[in-house]
């Protein structure tokens, strides 16, 4: 017994005829702010011709929490917990970006052990962010539940590490100017080593489960293509830029922290489509595991905070500074202007997901409305960071 399997293209379909009255007319659909796949309170006004997207207008501001204004009225250290709530998946990298810009502003040195701890925590953050992103993306594609359950299983292990170190699962508030808040003991490092050593097993399982899947390939390849020129001129950063084949990673370009001490590669895509963006996350997780293994092997005992930094009444000198790091979603930067007072005069966040979202219309035009969800998922947005 043999059955012939027809591909979707092979099936003959009657030609699509539109009524003369409706032909060429656009149907406007408002997607969001309450929508199962908009990753938060994001709204898109989509103009459809049949099922094809002809116009797309994003509507922001449903989660505008006045982050920057509050930052100008809060002391430098008081803004640290607020940065946790920017991109609420990656509080550790947000802390690091903010601490880095204040350290630049005030010229603060960071001890060696604190640098290692920061790298370990930032890479663990990258692992859990990318794992949950892949889970959510497959959820949007219709693999309802299963990949997300696998991803959250791993995420919970990493959140346990964060919790035992900082006291909170998500809002860690861990970094301080000139170091870190709590020291990691040997038991914590041993547990981190164990989790990092087992992580590739999850990656093997996950990649086998999804990345060769015919439906995933069909839904993502050649969908939402982004050209390298447009990506550079629009200021796209992070895995989305590297999926277009542009070799730009702030970890290599700036070499902040102790990243130049580590051996790791930057995965690059070729086509800039959704599949490349998806693969970028999977490959970056492998490189993060490599960084983590090196960092956990090299870390030495020592002080974790610069004792010269004043905690109370911290007043950096007059000036301005822009500190940036490679957050899991792209280049995250904080621009601070100090007038010598206890609060920053201007506090500006350069959120990666907001700027990556600016090309959404270019990615979605000409695709079906079902692809919009997949493309949006592959951009990897978090509304706390987009609207701030």
């Amino acid at each position: 017994m043999s059955a012939t399997v027809e591909t979707l293209e092979a099936i003959e379909r009657p030609p699509v005829t539109m009524g003369s009255r409706l032909e060429g007319e656009l149907l406007e659909v408002s997607m969001g702010p309450q929508h199962p796949s908009t990753h938060g309170v994001f709204r898109m006004n989509v103009a459809l011709e049949g099922e094809i997207v002809r116009k797309l207008k994003p509507v922001f501001g449903y989660l505008h929490r006045n982050h920057e204004k509050i930052g100008e009225n809060t002391s430098y250290l008081g803004s640290m917990p607020y940065t946790d709530r920017l991109d609420y998946f990656c509080s550790m990298t947000n802390n690091w970006a903010y601490a880095l810009s204040v350290e630049k502003l005030a010229g603060i040195e960071v001890p060696e052990r604190a640098q290692y701890l920061r790298i370990i925590l930032a890479e663990l953050t990258r692992l859990q962010n990318h794992a949950s992103l892949l889970g959510f993306l497959l959820n949007d594609m219709g693999a309802w539940g299963t990949p997300l359950m696998y991803a959250f299983r791993e995420r919970e292990k990493i959140l346990d590490l964060f919790e035992s170190l900082s006291g909170s699962r998500m809002m860690c508030d861990y970094m301080r100017f000139g170091g870190c808040r709590v020291d990691a003991d040997d038991a914590w490092l041993a547990r981190a080593r164990q989790i990092v050593d087992r992580f590739p097993k999850f990656l093997d399982e996950f990649e086998e489960l999804i990345l060769g899947n015919e439906i995933v390939i069909g839904r993502t390849q050649n969908v939402g293509k982004l050209s390298a020129d447009l990506a550079i001129s629009a200021g796209i950063t992070g895995p989305m830029l590297r999926a277009c084949g542009v070799n730009y990673d702030v970890r290599k370009v700036d070499g902040y922290g102790f990243y130049p001490r580590f051996k790791f590669r930057i995965p690059l895509g070729e086509h800039g489509d959704t599949y490349d963006r998806l693969m970028m996350r999977a490959l970056e997780m492998r490189e993060s595991v490599e960084i983590l293994k090196q960092a956990l092997a090299q870390i030495q005992p020592g002080p974790i905070v610069n004792p010269k930094v004043k905690i109370r009444a911290f007043r950096p000198p007059v000036g301005e500074a822009y500190g940036r790091i490679e957050a899991p979603k792209g280049e995250l930067g904080f621009y601070l202007i100090s007038d010598g007072g206890p609060n920053p005069y201007r506090y500006r966040v350069r959120p990666p997901s907001f700027i990556n979202l600016t090309v959404l219309e270019d990615l979605c035009l000409g695709h079906t409305v079902a692809d919009v969800m997949v493309i949006l998922g592959s951009v990897d947005i978090v509304m706390g960071e987009v609207d701030r």
Partner: protein
């Protein structure tokens, strides 16, 4: 037959024999409390903890609440998970109005209760209970998944105690009780009205 009319010892004895004597109210509430369908609706950080509660480790399915419905027409419970901004508040009230009775609201996290850390922000609503009635409040920023499960169990206890008949019957069975609330509009400086006086009655503090 209502509860309390039957001898408790006889009832237990019958149960041992395999005869389950119950009241309509008990059966009805038992069914309702174990199949609460929440609205799949996240606002901010707390939504991620809500997803974690539904995911592998915490598994809200143990309590019968794993069916997150994207449509308010099919949902029983709205978990307001995150900061409610003034731009979002009208949509939340509208979603609440679209839900079918009986409906319940869990206010998850400091932001949904009072504005939380963002309370001083010009665009942040100081608590969703200004516009819709809230059944269970969970403090925390964000509350742990265990806290959400606890709130869920509290809600189940509340549903279990609701009366079907009598003067003190559940509010959703009373035709006089409103099931929809006015949607606030954008005014010149703030939402109009700033709070719904029928719902929001904060205690008055009196200095002695």
């Amino acid at each position: 037959m209502s509860e309390g009319q039957m001898d408790e010892a006889l009832r237990r004895e019958l149960q041992r024999q395999g005869v389950w004597v119950t009241s309509m109210q008990e059966l009805y509430n038992w069914g309702r409390k174990n199949s609460i369908w929440p609205l799949q609706f996240g606002l901010a950080c707390c939504a991620i903890e809500m997803i974690a509660t539904a995911a592998s480790r915490y598994d809200i399915a143990r309590f019968g609440g794993e069916i997150f419905r994207p449509s308010p027409r099919q949902a029983d419970l709205m978990i307001v998970a995150g900061t409610v901004t003034k731009k979002m508040a009208p949509q939340i009230v509208r979603l609440y109005n679209q839900m079918a009775d009986p409906k319940y609201v869990i206010s998850m996290g400091a932001c949904a209760i009072s504005g939380g850390p963002f309370k001083q922000g010009y665009n942040v609503l100081k608590g969703i209970d200004r516009y819709i009635p809230v059944d269970v409040y969970i403090p925390g920023c964000p509350p742990r998944p265990e806290a959400l499960l606890h709130a869920f169990m509290e809600l189940q206890r509340k549903i279990d105690e609701q009366k079907l008949t009598g003067a003190d019957k559940a509010a959703h069975l009373d035709p006089q009780q409103p099931s929809e609330f006015p949607v606030p509009a954008f005014g010149r400086h703030d939402l109009e009205p700033p709070a719904n006086a029928d719902v929001f009655q904060p205690p008055k503090l009196e200095r002695v």
